[in-house]
Amino acid sequence: MSKLCMGLFSGSLDKLTAAGVILSGAAADDMDVEVFVLLQGARAFIKGNEDKIDNVAEATHLKDEFMKSLEVLNVSTWYEFFEMAKDMTNVKIYICSLAGKIWGGEKLEDFNDLVDDLCGIGEYLTSAEESDIHLFI
């Protein structure tokens, strides 16, 4: 069973969606996954923010076409991808406690149901060391 460690720094819609697709691929391969949500990413995991992510990191001038395309192609939302992945394989989502505080989340209850726990930076690096694949998004 391969291990995947993901450092999820980004909170933009395009990168969250990409992370979601990668997690789905990992789920199809029955991988063990740990996601450490850092800085910008933490905003997306605050309870109630799932639908409030509407910024893209790249090709911002083409944002409307990009969003329209996702709709036309019937692409799942980033949240749905994460949910599906958690459903199919072992995916743990940890929010860096500092990142959480930056966006107003102090306790686990302030975050949505995808989140398993808060964490510190040491745990992210240890996980990266022990994984077969390490990604930073």
Partner: protein, 83 residues
Amino acid sequence: MTNDELIALEVDKTVDARGTACPGPLLEAKKAIATIDSGEIMEILSADEGTKRDIPKWANKKGHDYMGTVEESGYFKIYLKKG
């Protein structure tokens, strides 16, 4: 197997994933294969190019038999035998 032989196979499970984009079809295939028995045949219908390459590789990795792909008009059918 030839196209005619593939189409003539008795399929035990059909997964119509033509409405979903990658990685939808792959995940549907994964869920569906758990519901059939070893030796049974599953066909997956998809219109997604990435899926056409993903599923055969995934099937081999998981110990299933990739039997072939048949091109239809606007979509394709992948045949797998559960390992």
